[in-house]
Chain length 437, copies 2
């Protein structure tokens, strides 16, 4: 098969870091195979990079100004791999306004400032694609928007930050402390110098926000997403959880129940029998539950230059295939629905109902277990399992699993427990996820 | 949003069994949500069923002749859920020839007689979709054709027959014999009265054939797929494998290496550390390895009316979205490539190279282990691990794992071992898959 030069898709890349350069490398290295799949050549014609250390002037026009790409009349698609809000937002906005398609790997941009871009893309009839923004190389956006489109999505839950999952896996396998593993993750390049985005769950909340919007047909609502990090977890919590038949994962959970949407990122106990509980290391995994299909799971590499570029280029292939068929407008609405729903309400974290893991540090005195159980009973909270460990000579950890409880009630019960004379430290509380079973 | 009656996609269903009726139920039960995703109503206007026990005449034209659907000028898409080769092939052929799109759940039809249909669909510029034919509700065809399209696929491996996986799981969990569990699977409705298709791996070979064709860009080649069933496995093999750190799964494996394609279905030892080794019960799972993304896994329900209908309706939604945008031809080539490759050759099973689990039943006499090891050594086959079990008073099982070996050599070594006086039964041989690691 010969592909005519004239029938090519011209790509401009803004941001030539790992993902941007990985995208060019993948397009070049696999050009023949990609052309056989699309019937068209995908050609990088313009690259804007803050620092042009890499000489690719033989391949494409090179410069430092991303707006030059957004305004380049020869560019069909702008690939945004700069990250951050500015100038990324304005670059993407100008490209869309100029009638260009945009492919972005920028989860923060889509989750926090995506709505006007989604609307502009729709108005202009161009594609705004972001497969690489969620779960790296795993085509989970495509699964949600297309593969599972016959379903009403009831809930989804994902390990969507590889750094956090690496840290939790090391803590579990080797009994190491959080702070200790974090330093190693930084040395290995898994975690940023400022690890806040990863370990506080903000990065996961960005991805969850995007998935929830597609799943439920609602506008992007990052501010409604509850976020809790993994920094307070101890190797003891991970070991106790395992003793009870659970692994602790930093999950992003979105659920739609009776017209109420909940989106939350926090450490979560998951039964070791669940497949997702056994996704360890830097891997990502998302479970999606549709009303017809039931639960399906998608796992793989959630980060890395090549894996992320795989999704960027998949988006470019979609656009190239559309160009070959002379498609006027994108087939699939940007967020999966032709118009977002506005009839759903947001559940606050106090109103969720789930089971809880509690670790209470108490003086090793007679009657302390009865006192704790009494406070829980007073708030109508049943106990499902208890581990009482050896005393360290002075204090004793009491570990228990509660029945399903509204978080507001639990908070009151925990305040009462912490007020007990025999309880010497704040209670550690971790939510348990049973995946609707 | 109001959807105009005139702008609807008209569907005719041929075959009103579990999947056909599940498709109608899903389209009706989730009509509002689906219309919000497509911007168009998807309407079942004609149903052909062998036995019209179910009265749906208020909903659609009903009859017993599938060709009436294929020739109904009001039908845009024919859904083929009859199964089998005839009349399914001719019904699908006529529908395509009449310029209708076709959605089929018929894996045998696509795998064994798909090529002329693929070519006819291309000639007519219509869609021939078959997501539901592979791995039920898991959108793995979409992942292969689109989500991972940036990659050259190196290999894929799947648990793609739920019946077989249920049987192996029961044998593992409860130490039960194959024949015993099969009877239960039939009673539960998981296995057909004639279980050949499931337990001999033919059903899996159909699905593997389809996935391999998309993965490597080759024509559908069912006859080139090697097939071995699970009927010879014993609970002892499953227990010994576990002792060595492996689960036994009935895998479909496709690999492209140095221009040679291998496709094979057989019982396989997989390290328990692999996620796919922990997919138990009736579930399906497919691991796909792309050169850029690495390994991604897709798991979920591989059968059942609702899960299969989920994929049928996803295909209908793709077609509906294309209709809304006035798309003239399908965006994605039926088998993922604009033209199939013809430069790849097929590797026979004798030429594959892998590790093997061997169980040798020998007389409990001095020197038998040395004899066995000597024969393996004579053929250049290294031993990686050995378990020698207690004698049952007369015979002793010798269980071992070999190093990587060409299957042709192994066959010769096994013949030599079986010729030893002390070896009293045919050697049990199970392939080991290390997923390219």
């Amino acid at each position: 098969m010969t592909v005519k030069e004239s029938k090519s898709l011209k790509v401009g890349i803004c941001g030539y870091g790992t993902v941007g350069s990985g995208t060019l490398a993948l397009l070049q290295g696999n050009a023949k195979d990609i052309a056989r799949k699309t019937g068209i050549k995908i050609e990088v014609s313009h690259v804007a990079s803050r620092s042009l250390q890499v000489d690719i002037s033989g391949v494409a026009t090179c410069g430092t100004d991303p707006f030059a790409v957004a305004n380049d009349p020869n560019v069909d698609v702008l690939v945004e791999t700069m990250g951050g809000f500015e100038p990324a937002f304005e670059v993407v906005r100008q490209a869309l306004a100029n009638g260009k398609h945009v492919v972005t790997a920028n989860k923060a941009l889509i989750a926090e400032r995506g709505m006007p871009l989604v609307e502009l893309a729709q108005e202009k009839g161009v594609t705004l694609a972001y497969e690489s923004a969620v779960a790296g190389g795993i085509p989970v956006i495509k699964a949600l928007r297309e593969g599972l489109a016959a379903n009403r999505i009831d809930w989804l839950a994902g390990i969507i930050n590889g750094t956090g999952n690496f840290i939790l896996t090391e803590m579990m396998d080797k009994g190491r402390e959080f702070a200790d593993v974090l330093i190693e993750a930084q040395a290995l390049g898994y975690a940023e110098a400022d690890p806040t985005f990863d370990v506080e769950g903000i990065d996961a909340a960005h991805k969850l926000t995007i998935m929830a919007s597609i799943a439920f047909g609602t506008p992007l609502a990052f501010d409604a997403t509850y976020t809790e990090g993994i920094g307070a977890l101890t190797p003891e919590d991970i070991a106790y959880a395992k003793e009870l038949g659970y692994h602790i994962k930093h999950l992003g959970i979105a659920r739609l129940e009776n017209g109420w949407v909940q989106t939350r990122v926090h450490p979560t106990l998951i039964s070791t029998k669940q497949l997702i509980a056994n996704v360890h290391g830097v891997g990502n995994a998302v479970v999606i539950h549709g009303h017809a299909v039931g639960s399906t799971l998608y796992s793989g590499p959630g980060a890395g230059a090549e894996a992320t570029a795989s999704s960027v280029v998949a988006d470019l292939i979609d656009i190239a295939r559309a160009k070959v068929q002379g498609l006027a407008k994108p087939l699939v609405p940007t967020l999966g629905y032709t118009a977002p729903r506005d009839d759903l309400r947001t559940l606050t974290i106090e109103d969720i109902t789930t089971e809880y893991y509690l670790r209470i540090t108490a003086q090793d005195v007679v009657g302390v277990m009865a006192d704790v159980a009494g406070e829980l009973e007073r708030f109508g909270i049943g106990i499902d399992a208890v581990i009482q460990k050896e005393s360290d000579g002075k204090n004793v950890p009491i570990v228990l699993l509660t029945d399903k409880t509204r978080e507001g009630e639990l908070n009151e019960a925990l305040a009462a427990i912490e007020a007990l004379d025999s309880v010497v430290a704040p209670v550690m509380r971790i939510r348990v996820e049973s995946f609707g079973e």
